[in-house]
């Protein structure tokens, strides 16, 4: 168990290291740094630009710059954002927290609704609900976030008129943003739980529980749901990644100040240190989420430990 935790952490560090190295070299090699725009400015002489390059250490070789970035970031200093004129670390942290709030709301909402529907489909097997849920899962999975976000925006704009302001941070916008974020999550959760519980209800242990005289509700909640828990956890672990990716569009369209809209601002402003900070912090965050989900799976089902440590096939 501890072995697994240890291995996950080492893997995570490796991933963060490789991702940051690749992004750093790409961003530097492609030419064009924060001083590119200054070069076109007639009021700034080439000598000044050269001096600034030395001041900011941009004249040093790539590896030297990367390792100084790495050693600084290991101490929690991700540099200064040229676009926002504040330290990157704090900016990324608060924006990620905002996205996490939005993501948590959408996960809770999507999970509750999916669990509610799946419970009824398990409680009344063979009913029309089964087929409807299958179709609902496909439909919800096929509604891209960008489409949902723009339609939501259109509806809000039409109904509130010109008094409406994007990025006002109101409760309505929070609710709508989390709703849009929740749609694809709802689809995967619904599909996973529905097929899982359908399979579990046919298992011999459910037959046995029925023979013991347990009520149908107790069978679903105490026995069948245990079998669904593991795939569910792995889906929830993966949803950290979809939340960070999905936040890019949802937050930009609906104006929520999270990591997604920050990424867009950083890319548009060619704010290299901010892009680096976002990539590394969000990768670690997503990796952490996946790791926790895997640990919980092992805790729920110790047989997973054997699977985890065995040669993957």
């Amino acid at each position: 168990m501890l072995n697994l935790v240890f291995r996950k952490i080492i893997q995570g560090v490796l991933v963060a290291f490789v991702v940051s190295a690749v992004t750093f070299s790409l961003l530097s090699a492609a030419g064009g740094d924060a001083l590119t725009n200054l070069r076109d400015n007639p009021q700034v002489s080439p000598e000044t630009v050269e001096r600034l390059r030395i001041v900011y250490g941009l004249d040093r070789p790539l590896t030297a710059r990367y390792f100084s970035w790495l050693s600084a970031s290991a101490k929690g200093d991700l540099g200064e954002s040229l676009y926002f004129k504040t330290p990157v670390a704090g900016l990324v942290f608060w924006r990620l927290l905002n996205t996490l709030v939005l993501g948590a709301a959408s996960i809770i909402g999507a999970f509750s609704l999916a669990a509610f529907l799946v419970f009824f489909s398990a409680r009344f097997p063979g009913s029309r609900l089964d087929g409807i849920l299958d179709i609902a899962a496909v439909a919800a999975a096929s509604l891209p976030r960008i489409v949902a976000a723009l339609f939501a925006l259109a509806i809000v704009v039409r109904s509130t008129g010109s008094a409406f302001e994007v990025g006002s941070g109101s409760w309505t916008m929070f609710f709508i943003s989390s709703l849009v974020m929740a749609i694809p999550l709802f689809a995967v959760l619904l599909a996973q739980m529905h097929s899982g519980i359908k399979g579990a209800m046919k298992e011999p242990f459910v037959q046995f529980a029925r023979a013991k005289g347990l009520s149908e509700n107790a069978i679903i909640f105490r026995h069948a749901s245990r079998a669904v828990l593991n795939p569910l956890l792995s889906v929830l672990g993966l949803s950290f990644g979809t939340i960070v990716s999905g936040s890019v569009i949802v937050e930009t369209v609906l104006g929520w100040p999270g990591i997604g809209s920050l990424t867009v601002a950083a890319v548009r402003g060619r704010d290299i240190s901010l892009v680096m900070g976002i990539v590394v912090v969000s990768s670690i965050f997503v990796w952490f989420g996946n790791g926790i989900a895997e640990l919980l799976q092992v805790l729920n089902d110790r047989r997973m430990l054997a699977v985890e440590s065995a040669w993957p096939n």
Binding site: I135, P144, L153, V248, S283
Partner: protein, 350 residues
């Protein structure tokens, strides 16, 4: 499963194939379907509303052939249009229009529909209105569908080929390289994809000419999207290489390369090929996201994503939401169709 539901899923399946067929036809015949050149500007018609298509004229007389009146910008300050009702322009099918190359090869002039004898001075039929630069929205939408639906399958194809090659190498190699390659693939899958794509995109100049932007997107998508195919391929190769017929092939002294390419690959290919189609929505949505954010395919070349960015403008969105959201509807239909077909494949497999 109750009968009504299975009937519904049958209808859904047919609709999905219909949508995809229509989209393929649009991709092939875009120039023919579009009434005008997608870059042609009509300066006198900025942000015009859709041209009303009429059957009844001023005197209340009914005409079996539809016609339009010319739209005139009557109030430039508020962008109001009125119709000049003195001349009517008949509409027809297969009319002479702007020159183009049919399928990019043969010079042609016939367009699917338009104003009959439509000279440059005649009224324009803009069934979706025009954009702020006076370009026909319908022609741009058709071209956008073509461009996006050519770029994304190219990206998917490249990612698929890379994934296939990596997966075969990983599946057929010994333990250490296999662990390393699959470790990389797993990490790629665990990372927030769109953030990584955006970060890579940030390394290149923000403004790029259309073709270069398109090839850049194809390459970025390929290098971020191969992991899933590689995993799938590796699994199949590992399962196949333990089979008897591979042992037999080895026993008659075939080379390992030959076994891999002639015996393992053909057996693994069908399942992997199906996965390629399933990946399409992912690539389309990445293109849409990037172009929407202004760092993907850029003006003047229309794409589904950059046409959508007009819908992010609240004032425009409030005025005509349906027209602005049409690209979104096309995207949703495409993704839904692939989703329905994917679901169908899965349920026939199980």
């Amino acid at each position: 499963m109750p009968r009504s539901i299975s009937k519904l899923s049958l209808i859904l399946r047919y609709s999905a194939w219909t949508v995809l067929t229509v989209l393929v036809i649009v991709v092939l015949l875009a120039d023919f379907i579009a009434p005008y050149d997608y870059t042609a500007q009509t300066r006198s018609l900025p942000s015009a509303p859709p041209t009303p298509i009429r059957f009844v004229d001023e005197d209340g007389k009914f005409h079996s052939r539809p016609f339009i009146y010319e739209q005139v910008l009557s109030d430039p300050l508020f962008g109001k249009f009125t119709e000049a009702r003195d001349t009517k322009y008949d509409l027809g099918l297969f009319v002479e229009g702007d020159r183009y190359k049919f399928l990019g090869l043969f010079p042609a002039q016939t367009r699917l529909f338009g104003v009959i004898s439509g000279g440059p001075a005649d009224a324009k039929v803009n069934i979706l209105g025009t954009d702020p630069l006076g370009r026909d929205r319908f022609s741009r939408l058709v071209e956008a569908i073509r461009f996006s639906l050519i770029v994304c399958p190219l990206g998917a194809l490249l990612a698929w080929l890379i994934g296939l090659a990596i997966g075969m190498i990983s599946g057929y190699s010994s333990r250490v390289p296999d662990t390393i390659i699959m470790g990389v693939a797993d990490s790629m899958l665990a990372l927030p994809a769109l953030v990584i794509i955006l970060a890579v995109r940030a390394a290149f100049p923000p403004e790029l000419p259309p073709l270069r932007a398109a090839s850049l997107l194809v390459i970025i998508f390929a290098f971020t999207g191969w992991a899933e195919i590689a995993r799938l391929t590796r699994g199949l190769v590992r399962a196949l290489r333990e089979r008897e017929f591979i042992l037999a092939a080895r026993s008659i002294g075939l080379s390992e390369t030959r076994i891999l390419l002639r015996h393992i690959l053909p057996n693994a290919l069908p399942s992997i090929a199906a996965q390629a189609a399933v990946m399409l929505p992912y690539f389309l949505l990445s293109e849409v996201a990037l172009s929407f954010l202004g760092v993907g395919l850029q003006e003047p070349q229309p794409s589904l994503g950059n046409m959508l960015s007009a819908a992010a403008d609240i004032n425009l969105l409030q005025r005509d939401p349906v027209v602005l959201l049409l690209p979104a509807i096309v995207i949703a239909l495409f993704v839904l169709s692939i989703g329905v077909i994917k679901q169908n494949l899965r349920s026939t497999e199980s």
